[in-house]
Subunit: 240 residues, 2 copies
């Protein structure tokens, strides 16, 4: 811990929710109004999405700190970029300035904030956010799972064998990070009996929200910023 | 749909988050300020917990509608109580009054709101809420899962064989509805290699929040309103 503990700022990892600016929490809105520095990911396709969701709540005097992270299979450039971002954030904290790092959805639900956790030695506070998981369920008005059923969150980049086994043994699943894996995921959902009731939700709660039954999703399209919610009814489940 | 469609009220299923009143969303606060009727579960141990979380945001003129649901293994009394509640709510909707039904956490993440979905034929709008899942992760400052790992939400009442198989095949899990199943769950977590890093979070983000490593949880105690977050590090996982 650098400097005088009582003078060091706090790093707030702030979940800003899935897209609708009204789905920030009251706590997130308060923190964003108060902090001196607001950092946010600003990379590639989803450039500054978290910032765009939260912008109306950020204080006019806040220092903005966009953080560009190279997207590559090789992890080294990304690590170097997070190292550099952590150094910049730490300089603000050491100067006694509170910093908010904006996270689309929730900071600890598959978010990039985890890469800052290990790199910052100051006090860290986490403000949870609405995830794409519950936002997608709200958008289609359907429970994620019933009563005492398992719910699995499955990242699409997982191996097909792993996904197949996990899908066969659950009534309810949410597939995240679909993107370029869409065709393979669709085939797996058909194979495991999940396709009939699966729904593709893109940009949940955002201005560009689109809801499409999996069976109706065009074969030459790819879903963006999407989650696929699957639920095999009790009958299908009992006979699986 | 009874009555004139344009005069019928809307039922809002409103997630009020896990306990901290500041973790309501801006949208939930707005809806609660505006609706004419606020219904909420008022049963047993967690009597009116959702109401207590949200109370400061409810309009002074709102009609309060506590709903008592009998807790019993036999489902018939509960079904009858939800039928009666739906009838009362429908009478308000048919009279043109908007109704909010308060849900601790999120309405569609293992919430009782699902029992109203099938019973109400008016327009229903869902306001997602912060779940105990992300609230618990925020409380301990630890990611729920890393990168492309599976995350399983496992209700403790599931059979031990099912739980064992699911725990053996995942790095990350969240055990919900622990209550009287605690001893059995602890044994299963020890057996499957999840116990060392498991944490019991009670009343996440609430005034009575308590965080206890599983290994330190007293054997003669039972956790209340708790979730157990499990994460087997990469090394344990790779050798499992």
């Amino acid at each position: 811990m650098a400097g005088d503990q009582t003078m060091t700022g706090t790093l707030h990892l702030v979940g800003v929710g899935p897209g609708d600016p009204e789905l920030l929490t009251l706590k997130a809105a308060r923190v964003l109004r108060d902090v001196a520095v607001v950092a946010y990911p600003a990379t590639g396709e989803d450039s500054a999405m978290a910032y765009n969701i939260a912008r109306e709540h950020i204080g006019a005097a806040a220092i903005l700190l966009p953080i560009a992270i190279p997207m590559a299979v090789d992890r080294a450039p990304g690590r170097a970029a997070y190292d550099a971002a952590a150094t910049t954030i730490h300089a603000h904290l050491d100067a006694g300035r509170d910093v908010a790092y904006l996270c689309e959805g929730d900071p600890l639900f598959y978010g990039s904030a985890m890469y800052l956790l290990d790199r910052i030695s100051a006090h860290i506070s986490v403000v949870p956010g609405i995830t794409s998981l519950t936002a997608a369920a709200a958008s289609i008005g359907r429970p994620l799972a019933a009563r005492n059923e398992t719910l699995k969150v499955l990242p699409a980049p997982l191996d097909s064998d792993v996904l197949r086994a996990e899908l066969l043994s659950t009534p309810a699943a949410a597939i995240i990070k679909v993107g370029r894996h869409f065709d393979r995921i669709r085939d797996l959902l058909i194979e495991t009996g999940h396709a009939a009731d699966a729904v593709v939700i893109e940009h949940a709660t955002g201005a560009r929200q689109r809801i499409t039954p999996l069976a109706a999703f065009a074969h030459d399209e790819r879903p963006y910023f999407s989650i696929i919610l699957c639920y095999r009814g009790e009958e299908a489940w009992a006979t699986a």
